[in-house]
């Protein structure tokens, strides 16, 4: 399985049926492929829609219906349009159950940097700072390393997106949970050893006695309900 698919499948298992979820542009957007329709997860796009769905068939696009990257999307039955003030009211006000975002770095405090590489790439924070600060659960989905360089580091060298500790870090190698005590290694990707994870991580990781392999199958609605209500 490709790295991307591992991350997206594992993130998808975190999403709760009937919840409101914001997916960042890029890798996070692809998570929706692994979320069955019957979950009735409401995907918010911060540019102003709840109930966003996939790109429509060619010729059926609407220039007024796009995601936060400007790409064409469609709306599910029961979708709702909102303006930018309400969209971010939902985000800051704790109404968004989960956000999935990419990362440039995450550190031992569980703090995320994902919006700027000073002097090189200055895209701006867009909605990321509001999302990381306000969403109930912040899921970082990213490659474990970038061109061989570890992205889970002792201390972020890039400017932070928020002081808030993220909820979970999901990579192609591992699932890591930031806690009061530090980063805890919760799961490893199929056929990936704890040693490999440690070699590719400069941050200190707390390694429990057993580190199970990630489950990557898509849960049935009933399984998803049970699993996510335990987690919440």
């Amino acid at each position: 399985m490709e790295a991307l698919e591992i991350i997206q499948r594992r993130v998808a298992r975190e999403l709760k049926p009937l919840s409101l979820v914001n997916l960042g542009i890029g890798l996070p957007t692809g998570v929706s492929k692994f979320v069955p329709d019957e979950y009735s997860v409401f995907f918010q796009s911060e540019n102003g829609i709840i109930g966003m769905s996939a790109r429509p068939p060619e010729g059926m696009e609407d220039e007024d219906l796009t995601d936060a990257g400007g790409g064409f999307v469609s709306a599910l039955p029961g979708a709702a349009t909102i303006d930018s003030a309400i969209s971010f009211g939902l985000i800051r006000g704790g109404h968004v159950d989960a956000t999935v975002l990419g990362g440039l770095e995450v550190d031992e405090n569980g703090q995320l940097a994902n919006w700027v590489v000073p002097g090189k790439m200055v895209p701006g924070m867009g909605g990321a700072m509001d999302l990381v600060t306000g969403a109930r659960r912040v899921l970082v989905g990213m490659q474990h390393t970038a061109r061989g360089r570890p992205k889970i580091v002792p201390k972020c060298t890039l400017p932070l997106t928020s002081l808030r500790r993220v909820t979970l870090i999901i990579t192609d190698l591992a699932v890591i949970e930031p806690t009061d005590d530090g980063l805890v290694l919760r799961e490893r990707a199929p056929d990936v050893s704890v040693e490999t994870i440690l070699e590719n991580t400069t941050a200190k990781l707390i390694v429990p006695d057993t580190v199970p392999e990630m489950e990557l199958s898509i849960r049935t609605l009933e399984e998803a309900r049970r699993a996510t209500s335990e987690a919440a």
Binding site: G48, D67, G70, A75, S84, R92, D130
Partner: protein
């Protein structure tokens, strides 16, 4: 009650150096014909408040590309390399503001509020030099209102009072900016007779809209 004007007439109302709040999100829901008219009229030294820098050939990006913008206040400029180039060369000042904070700062200006208290950006470089206000032991970042001389907005339907409706994600910042500017210029897709838009469908009341752009 409001005579529709051309984009060129709108551009004539707007002087060099004006502060413009321009609706749209990556150009979706932007007033494209007014933007084009400003470019053609050669406006310069504009301060532009908008969600993003659009793309070089679309939305706010058209103004950036024409070097009409002295200062851009936006949340995102990543899809317009021209913005990054002008920023790095020191030719355009860029003030990056978190998207939710941008929306609330505009809203505060339009709603007569003294500013915004948010958790967003606290402790990051986006909050450097800014005031922190402590309330019951909790820290909040203070962000000031962001008023504009002109709001240049898009709408779906307008009537001749100026009542506006928006469609889907073309809504975004448009209704918020309509409240935040001294003069509101709206480029609707269509203009319908008064009484055609039901009261509950109106998202921006016409009394605050100053000029409507006529259909092509």
């Amino acid at each position: 009650m409001k005579e529709a004007i051309t984009p060129q007439q709108a551009a004539e109302i707007i002087p060099d150096g004006a502060v413009l709040a321009i609706g749209g999100f990556m150009g979706v829901g932007s007033p494209h014909r007014v933007i084009d008219a400003l470019v053609e009229a050669g406006r310069k030294d504009l301060t532009v408040i908008g969600n993003d820098a659009g793309r070089p050939d679309f939305g706010i990006g058209r103004l950036v590309h024409a070097r009409a913008v002295k200062k851009l206040i936006a949340s995102h400029i990543g899809l317009n390399p021209e913005s990054q180039k002008q920023m790095i060369a020191g030719e355009m000042e860029i003030d990056l503001v978190p998207q939710g904070t941008l929306a609330e700062r505009l809203r505060a200006a339009g709603h007569g509020l003294g500013g915004v208290l948010t958790k967003t950006a606290i402790g990051t470089i986006a909050a450097e030099g800014k005031r922190i206000i402590e309330i019951d032991g909790e820290e909040w970042l203070y962000e000031p209102p962001l008023p504009a001389d002109f709001a240049l907005i898009h709408a779906d339907r307008a009537d001749y009072i100026g009542n506006l409706t928006y469609q889907l994600t073309a809504t975004n910042f448009n209704p918020i900016m309509a409240m935040a500017a001294k003069t509101v210029i709206c480029e609707p897709r269509v203009i319908v007779p008064i009484g055609v838009i039901p009261p509950d469908d109106v998202r921006t009341p016409g009394v605050i809209v100053d000029h409507l752009i006529a259909r092509v």
